[in-house]
Amino acid sequence: MKRFVGFVRKEFYHIFRDKRSLFILFGMPIAQILLFGFAITNEINNVNIAILDQANDVTSKEIINKIASSKHFSIVDVIQQESSIESIFKKGKVKAVVQFENNFGNNLIKKKQANVQVLTDATDPNMASTISNYISSILKKYQQELNKNSTIDYQIIPQSRMVYNAELKSVYMFVPGVMTVILMLVSAMMTSISITREKEQGTMEILLVSPLKPFQVIIGKVFPYIFLSVINAIVIVLLSIFVFNVPVNGSLFLLGVESVLFIITSLALGILISTISATQQTAMMISLMGLMLPTILLSGFIFPISSMPLPLQVISNIIPAKWFIIIVKGIMLKGIGIGYIFKETAILVLMTLLFIGISVKKYKIRLE
């Protein structure tokens, strides 16, 4: 145990004395989250929309006026039938259609609730979510004004529907994605680099010729990164909750456990990379090309998997990040429990065991 503690202490010295790795460890997550966050929550201005007013009463007119007077939207078309919606979207003239149901005003007064449908063109999912949020807030404001002067609780219910991108791609999607990329980067790349550095400097020779068992060396090398990656995951979640108001609908504990699992998966990959590369440079190249790119491109983080060509869809299954993104999305955004993500978790566990198995097999107690 004392040996282990000594080893881990040494690893921390390495990490804290290397400005570069410190930056990757802590600067990168924060920078990425902020970049993605602000790039995505950009304000919208003068977005073209169309109105389908099936009620055509006083209340609907009032709301349409409110929307028209907002600087965010300009109404460029008024359509008469539901069947025109598709063609108007196809022409690309508008980004959204606001549809008032029949008897909107009456429903509101008699049933105390009325429906507004907000249809958005979700080929640009971020834009679509933002639009529907803005319109919802205009409706909410109108509803509040209405309720202020009355004892009755009127409700206007906005129903958002995305067209062309049925799978809900919320603006919050970037949080699971960025979290995945960062955990992968820190865990896999940093461990593989730190192990190959020992090979390069010749210190691995001395460690091998010491009574330390190989698994002690490996555990000693990866332990600090588990710790640091967990801190990173926490920082990311806190940032997204407090800076971007992303909700965590599910259990934080479950999220934590799943994150640790994914961190271990990535570390195992990092160890695997270090067993096949002799220099830090090779380790870095393999981590970037072999892990980072697939994690960003094929995991569903940026491009929806369902719209990929079939071969890539098949390949995406062997990318651990794909499963982790599904898990995080489920827990954070949908609030589901372990029952719904059991399969994904099991796949990650299997992958981890496989990677560890291969690395242990490939790890040499000698030099060649």
Binding site: R3, V5, G6, Y13, R366
Partner: protein, 300 residues
Amino acid sequence: MGITVSNISKSYGKVTALSAISFDVKPGELFGLIGPDGAGKTTLFRILTTLLIADKGQAAVAGYNVLNDYKSIRKSVGYMPGRFSLYQDLTVEENLNFFATIFGTTIEENYDLVKDIYVQIEPFKNRRAGKLSGGMKQKLALSCALIHKPKVLFLDEPTTGVDPVSRKEFWEMLKRLQKKGITILVSTPYMDEAALCDRIALIQDGKILEIDSPSAIVSHFPKPLYNINADNMYGLIESLTKYEHTYSIFPFGEFVHYTDKWDSMDKESLKAYLESQGLTDIHIEETQPTIEDTFMELAK
């Protein structure tokens, strides 16, 4: 309890690094492996420290077989690889502490063994190893290799790239360690260091040329050896190369070391020949061969 090596061979692909090497190092002996880069010294060290497996042959260190008892060997040897393998970003003290910990000991426990060496670098104990001079790195690496009281010490080219002062100090340290009963196998490309070992093996191209005590090796030099100098070194070498009785010539410091084809050589006619080549200030006198002379004679 020393080291025994019998018929060890090792190849990397087509390149033969070691071919059928055999020798013994007695317990408590300071044994030198003397040879240039590429002679196979590092490969041999790696086989003996259990880092590589030989293609053929047997070897034992401190009584343990290098193949089967590698765990016992790793507990009882100290190893200092070629480039001083230290953690450049750790301080002197942190390095030593780390190596003590992984061997399950502490600096205090074995301080008496490393004290001699460590006191010389202790003033810099808070300096990062990467910022030390070559000589100090070498001392730190030696301290680290000694901190767990090894029975056998392997030092692979500990003095390469280190200046003569540090080299001299280093050998003095080795002599003191030897007195404490540690068996030492050391390799070096510097022939002048060979004389400081109890016994040496001259090694080149994976083969051992000769094994003996330095004085015995020198006495095996087959021919009388002469120091020759003149006013113009380049002219002297040129002329001697062309001389019909020349057996071997090698520049050697301010002289040229010369051996003749015949056992009874004629100094006067050589001098006359050199003068006829336009050289002046010619001195020829017999001299004692060195290990380097023997090495060159054997390697020819």
